[in-house]
């Protein structure tokens, strides 16, 4: 089992979600987050004074998958999430040791 954690552009999220559902993904956890990468945000002005916007809004997707689904999911996120510009986000993968369904204590792939 692998956990896919993707940080994507908010305006790309709907498209990515639709593509993932099309792949047969059954569950996902989504949060609105803020952060910055190498670019470190930029500046805006209020009442004529500049201020920094260093944390930009992103959407974070978390999915725990059977290993065979990982590559198609990564492809779908990249295909639907890439605009080619700075700020498209990143995908992180983690090994997952165990998954447990709280309702009936199923374990492993059955719990996903």
């Amino acid at each position: 089992m692998t956990k896919v954690e993707a940080i994507v552009q908010p305006n790309r999220f709907e498209q990515i979600k639709d593509a993932l559902i099309g792949l047969g993904i059954e569950g996902m956890t989504v949060s609105e987050v803020r952060g910055h990468g190498r670019q470190k945000g930029h500046t805006e002005t209020y009442r004529g004074r500049e201020y920094g916007i260093d944390l930009l809004p992103k959407v974070k997707l978390e999915l725990v998958l059977e290993d065979k689904l990982v590559d198609p999911v990564i492809d779908a996120i990249i295909k639907n999430g890439a605009t080619g510009k700075i700020g498209d986000g990143k995908i992180f993968l983690y090994k997952v040791e165990e998954a447990i369904r709280i309702r009936n204590q199923e374990r492993g792939a059955a719990a996903l």
Partner: protein, 542 residues
């Protein structure tokens, strides 16, 4: 008594309070204080007594000397009518608050500052334009198509026409109307219009389209107003176009300029329509939107009853206010039930737009219909607005707040409804009272089709002319490339792109950015540190 020892120095408030508390514990200080208070009360009482007695004497004396002053009718009528018109003007101006809140609530949070700015700046622009030439085009004498006197309010009489209302009181009343029309327009264009583009088309709306087309119906010699009378357009009809407070002149013109804007702009990025499997973009604050709708309703009590320009027509004012209320009540309910039939939910957005639709519809016929008629025609408007929203959805026209169905479509319905519901009892308002000698009678009251035909002609002419001119204006502004913001600016949000700040920089997570000095106060602050230290675990992928 140590506190008292500090006397002579300047004491702070808390020192004074503690000194007072100390003194109140001392019976001698209490006696002294009581004496002081009693003396002061006695003094004030004496002064009041003297003022009453002396002024009474003086007044009586003067009155006895001059006798009863001779008061002409105009000395009472003109101030009373002017005061009434001004009260109504201030109420109508208050509708700007309602529009601002309604539009801000129905839009997404990322374009809220843009909505606020458009409503404020439209008002400022409209004021200056209406001073320079808007009022002249619309309300001065000229020909049937345009007025050409009183530019920059020069050469104006003391009172406007035969109303007996001070000229500048009429000006501010009509400015508030023009401002309403101009603000309606921005509602359908939210979320994608560049700020400079907004300024450009607003100049066209408040300075030219509204005043010139409005002159046809409301100008002293407008060709639709004089229609049917001897020597004017279509004299064989024998009936002019009637629009009491502006279902057509304000709302249809505003609504159809909005339609032209929404068509030329195209939908917001990412807006999918119902038949493409999509749905409207969600509003960001229904509390603000619905409260704004109710403030508009309140402002309408200036809009409709004030349009008598005459407090002397007191029966008319009462009837108009009641009809306005009943139409809104009926329309709110019919919109709610109609929407419930398809969605099985009691929809707040449709109910709010429903009572607004009722208000728009009753604006034209409010003087001439009975309360029952107002309920019927308002109720129909409530259904129409829901159907209108569905129609725009089908046509793939993105109108974020529903300005076109509410103001455009229901403005037409309200105007035509006069031809059906005019009850045959009421004629024209006037500076000293109503003149019911030539009462309007609609089809349902046995008056035949005369009024209806006049209303259809007026409504059709103004609707078509507005749409044609507005399309031309929007296409020209669009050709300069200023009407719609860049794709990047739209996705980033108009607030930051055009105005440099979001409406809720501190506490709404999806709002972009916060002043850098504030980030430590945000609950998200620790995320910055953890994100910075997060490194991709690339070995897992390999």
């Amino acid at each position: 008594m140590s506190v008292i020892a500090k006397e002579g120095k300047k004491l702070s408030l808390s020192e004074k309070v503690s000194r007072l508390v100390t003194r109140l514990r001392d019976p001698e200080w209490r006696r002294y204080g009581g004496l002081l208070l009693g003396g002061k009360a006695l003094g004030i009482g004496l002064v009041l007594l003297i003022v009453t007695v002396v002024s009474g004497l003086l007044f009586g004396h003067v009155y006895a000397q001059t006798g009863t002053p001779e008061v002409k009718a105009a000395d009472v009528v003109n101030p009373v009518n002017t005061a009434w018109t001004l009260i109504a003007a201030f109420l109508v101006f208050g509708m700007q608050v309602g529009f601002t809140m309604l539009e801000a609530g129905f839009c997404r949070s990322r374009e809220t500052v843009n909505v606020l700015m458009e409503c404020v700046v439209d008002t400022c622009l409209c004021g200056l334009l209406f001073y320079a030439f808007g009022f002249a085009f619309m309300f001065s004498h000229g020909n049937g198509f345009i007025g050409y006197h009183w530019f920059f309010l020069q050469g104006a009489p003391a009172t406007y026409e035969a109303t007996g209302v001070a000229f500048l009181a009429v000006w501010i009343f009509q400015f508030a109307f023009a401002d309403t029309c101009s603000t309606i327009t921005s509602g359908a264009m939210i979320g994608r219009t560049g700020f400079v583009g907004d300024l450009l088309y607003s100049v066209a709306v408040s300075g030219f389209i509204y005043p010139i087309i409005g002159h046809w119906a409301w100008g002293p010699d407008g060709w639709l107003a004089t229609m049917g009378s001897d020597g004017h357009f279509f004299s064989s009809l024998g009936m002019g176009f009637h629009d009491f407070a502006g279902s057509t002149v304000v709302h249809t013109i505003g609504g159809f300029i909005a339609l032209a804007g929404a068509i030329v702009l195209g939908p917001r990025l990412g807006r999918k329509f119902k038949r493409d499997g999509g749905a409207p973009m969600l509003p960001h604050d229904l509390t603000i939107a619905v409260s704004g709708g109710l403030i508009l309703w309140f402002g309408w009590y200036g809009f409709n009853p004030g349009s008598t320009l005459s407090a002397m027509d007191f029966e008319g004012i009462g009837r108009v206010a009641t009809n306005t209320t009943l139409a809104a009540c009926a329309a709110g309910l019919t919109a709610m039930f109609w929407a419930y039939m398809s969605s099985k939910k009691w929809d707040a957005g449709f109910t709010t737009n429903g009572f607004l639709a009722g208000l728009v519809a009753i604006t034209c016929p409010c003087y001439w219909v009975s309360p029952t008629g107002a309920i019927l025609l308002g109720g129909i408007a409530g259904v129409l607005v829901v159907l209108g929203v569905e129609l725009l959805e089908y046509l793939r026209i993105d109108d974020p707040i529903g300005a076109v169905p509410v103001h455009g479509f229901c403005g037409i319905w309200g105007t035509l409804s006069l031809g059906l519901f005019a009850c045959g009892k009421y004629g024209a308002t006037g500076p000293t009272g109503a003149d019911n000698s030539a009462a309007l009678k609609g089809l349902f009251y046995g008056g035949g089709t005369q009024v209806l035909v006049a209303q259809i002609i007026g409504s059709a002419v103004i609707t078509v002319a507005t749409l044609a001119v507005a399309m031309a204006v929007m296409l020209v502004v669009n050709a300069t490339g200023l009407l719609r913001v860049s794709e990047e600016g739209e996705l980033y949000g108009l607030d930051l792109h055009e105005h440099g700040i979001s409406a809720y920089p501190e506490y709404v997570i999806s709002a972009l950015g916060a002043p850098s000095g504030m980030t430590q106060e945000l609950p998200l602050a620790p995320a910055k540190a953890s994100l910075a230290t997060t490194k991709p675990l690339s070995h897992i992928a390999s």
